[in-house]
């Protein structure tokens, strides 16, 4: 291979950097000795680190042609691919639907799947803002928080049921979306990202400090759990009310509620998906994409950029609000800790890794990014290492996200006649 000398040189350079870094950090030890602290050396570790970096870099360099050629092959077969992605979506939905009925489905698995589905939904919601409208939002978790606190406070103070609070939470979150939208109308790209980041933090800090209203750092506990059309999932229902298990003549099991919550979030996530798929083919969705491509051209075609941006913020936020109220009812306890910046970053990573604008890609990315750290809990402190490696590998393999092929919203061949 002609590029080998170059690759070896490149790997050698990387190893040199690793050596420089590892030497002060891993090269010395200060063990307790007879007279205070002794100094000992661990140069074997330094050499090992440099060797690992050398081999890793060499491997990446050698395998790059493979990655690129598979990428090109995939792009060449794009029409067949998009059809297969479509089918992949249905298969994924089918698996999600039958999951609780499978013999190996235990409480643990369904809990993890529920968690993944929350992030799938958040990823799809953020996809409206980032993927379609092209507005980089780093504070998306703020709307999730608004939804969660809306439900918690409404049910705590007014005793409203989950099913009434769910649309209200979406509405409140959408209002906050518009509230954020107004000051950032003129901003784009990096500047927009910074302001949304600030907005996310403001919401979290308000939740943390407004003791009387939000409970501050203690959060809100014993939030009402949802019932199955008025039938609570409890072993000892209050006088005159039948519980879910009594009504259907089942033995009481905590698993019922877990499965119910699972199907609830599945339904909410699919609602988000159907909404996005449908709105892409409507003038509003097309205007979002057009805005992402060129705002000035939009204006010249009579599209009001203000309305288009605000609607994207509001609708994206609405789905985060739905997800937030689900989160609150599932946990039964919320506190500002659940809505830190890292959550926003994670949701954004899901949307970007999935491939901007691709629904199936976002679902896969959520399964990977949320699933991997959950399933690799046994790795303990190396868990995040596996997570990071997975992210790097995805970005090397598919730099534009897992599914970067954009589906046209209308075509002359098979559009409406």
């Amino acid at each position: 291979m002609a590029r080998l000398p170059f690759l070896v040189k490149d790997a050698g350079l990387a190893a040199l950097v690793a050596l420089g870094l590892a030497f002060p950090m891993a090269g010395f030890r200060l063990p307790d000795g007879a007279s205070g602290t002794d100094l000992s050396f661990r140069f074997d570790l330094v050499a090992a680190a440099a060797a690992v970096v050398f081999l890793g870099r060499l491997f990446l360099g050698l395998s790059r042609p493979f990655f690129i050629s598979t990428g090109q092959k995939l792009a060449a077969k794009s029409t067949g691919l998009s059809k297969r992605i479509h089918w992949g979506g249905y298969v994924l939905a089918g698996i999600a639907f039958v999951l609780p009925m499978l013999p190996f489905a235990d409480r643990n698995l369904i809990d993890k799947a529920t968690l993944i589905l929350i992030y799938v939904m958040l990823g799809w919601g953020l996809n409206i803002v980032v993927g379609l409208a092209g507005l980089l939002d780093l504070g998306y978790v703020a709307f999730y928080a608004v939804g969660a606190y809306s439900y918690a406070l409404l049910s705590l103070h007014f005793g409203l049921s989950f099913w009434i609070c769910l649309p209200l939470s979406g509405l409140f979150a959408a209002l906050f979306g518009i509230l954020l939208g107004f000051p950032v109308l003129r901003l784009r790209g990096d500047y927009l990202a910074i302001v949304t980041l600030g907005f996310g933090e403001i919401i979290r800090i308000i939740l943390l400090n407004w003791q009387n209203f939000t409970g501050g750092p203690n959060g809100i506990s014993s939030i009402q759990r949802p019932g199955f059309f008025g039938l609570p999932f409890t072993a000892d229902p209050p006088e005159g009310v039948a519980s879910f298990s009594d009504f259907f003549g089942l033995d009481y099991s905590t698993f019922h509620r877990v499965v119910f919550l699972y199907y609830l979030i599945l339904a909410l996530a699919l609602l988000t998906n159907f909404f996005t798929v449908r709105i892409r083919k409507l003038p509003l969705g097309r205007a979002w994409e057009a805005l992402r491509e060129d705002e000035i051209a939009c204006k010249a075609l009579g599209i009001n950029p203000t309305m288009v941006k605000l609607s994207a913020f509001a609708l994206g936020a609405m789905f985060a609000g739905f997800a937030g109220s689900f989160f609150a009812t599932r946990q039964g306890f919320i506190s500002p800790d659940s809505f830190s910046f890292i959550e926003s970053a994670l949701i954004l990573a899901i949307a970007v890794l999935g491939g901007k604008g691709s629904q199936v890609g976002v679902a896969l990315a959520a399964i990977l990014l949320i699933g991997i750290p959950e399933w690799f809990r046994e790795l303990a402190q190396y868990r995040m290492l596996a997570f990071g490696c997975a992210m790097v590998l995805i970005m090397v393999w598919r730099p534009e996200g897992l599914m970067s092929k954009r589906e046209p919203t209308v075509s002359l061949k098979d559009g409406p006649p």
Partner: protein
């Protein structure tokens, strides 16, 4: 002629700080006519367009547009997107601005946003796919197909706009502007970067638009074969002021125009004074 002209520009002035980009410019453009604005680089041609289409707010002056229905709009008082939406002024850009990751057909459908948005009851009706929306969508596709045929892009309708060759992109931008069903079409250097054959095709396209749609065309152009070949009326700008106006043949012979284009050495200028 007693009927109000399509576009009447009266005493338009645009200042950027101390710099007068356009000074006291007045001209008119009519329906079924191609009006060309020419002038050396930096003469203020694109600034006139930006004032007309709401990207700049003029320092002073009046821009009045009269539709064939007799409805009258004062462009300097309208917001940018409303000029395109209600006054029906469409424009293209000097450096092409297509929605490059969207397909050719999608570009033309986005141009019909206003009509489709109403038909979809601001998205609510569209979400449930009401018959009225389906009907409107079919009409939008028909209009798009009509313009695809006109600009010879039907075969490439489902390709990404960025994948088109340069000349096709220019034509697509014109088709997209026409899909807004404008009363006046403002073209900013549509022939820039075209080869002679493409440039000749463009002439035919513009003449066809003028004849079939009955709208007015306002044209900024450097390519004199386009300007002299198809325009009915030419306005010449230099340093933001109008130095000549009239039919192409008249303007071509005008001494001030020749001086502005070919320049004049200092001695000659002193002689002239």
């Amino acid at each position: 002629m007693t009927a109000a002209p399509l576009l009447a520009v009266d005493h338009l002035t645009m200042r950027f700080g101390g710099l007068v980009a356009i000074g006291d410019l007045s001209f008119q453009a009519r329906h079924k006519e191609i009006t060309a604005i020419i002038g050396p680089n930096g003469a203020g041609k694109t600034t006139v367009f930006n004032c007309l289409t709401g990207f700049y707010r003029p320092s002073s002056g009046m821009l009045s547009l009269t539709h064939r229905t007799g409805e009258r709009f004062l462009l300097e008082r309208l917001d940018g997107h409303l000029i395109a939406r209600t006054a029906k002024v469409a424009r293209t850009f000097q450096n092409i601005r297509l929605f490059s990751n969207m397909t050719v057909l999608e570009n033309l459908i986005v141009a019909q946003h206003t009509a489709l948005m109403k038909a979809s009851l601001f998205t609510l009706g569209g979400l449930f796919n009401l018959p009225s929306y389906r009907h409107a969508e079919r009409r939008a596709l028909d209009l798009a197909r009509h313009w695809l045929d006109k600009v010879n892009l039907t075969a490439k309708a489902d390709e990404a706009a960025s994948a088109l060759p340069y000349g096709d992109q220019r034509r697509l931008e014109i088709a997209r502007a026409m899909c807004t069903q404008p009363e006046i079409l403002c073209l900013d250097e549509p022939a820039a970067g075209l080869n002679p054959k493409e440039s000749a095709d463009l002439n035919q396209l513009l003449l066809a638009i003028k004849a079939e749609e009955g709208i007015g065309i306002l044209l900024i152009e450097h390519d004199m074969s386009v300007v002299m070949g198809i325009s009915d009326h030419v306005v010449v700008l230099d340093y933001g002021r109008k130095i000549a106006e009239g039919p192409p043949a008249f303007v071509r012979a005008d001494a001030a125009v020749i001086r502005a284009y070919l320049g004049q050495d200092d001695d000659a200028k002193e002689d002239a004074c």
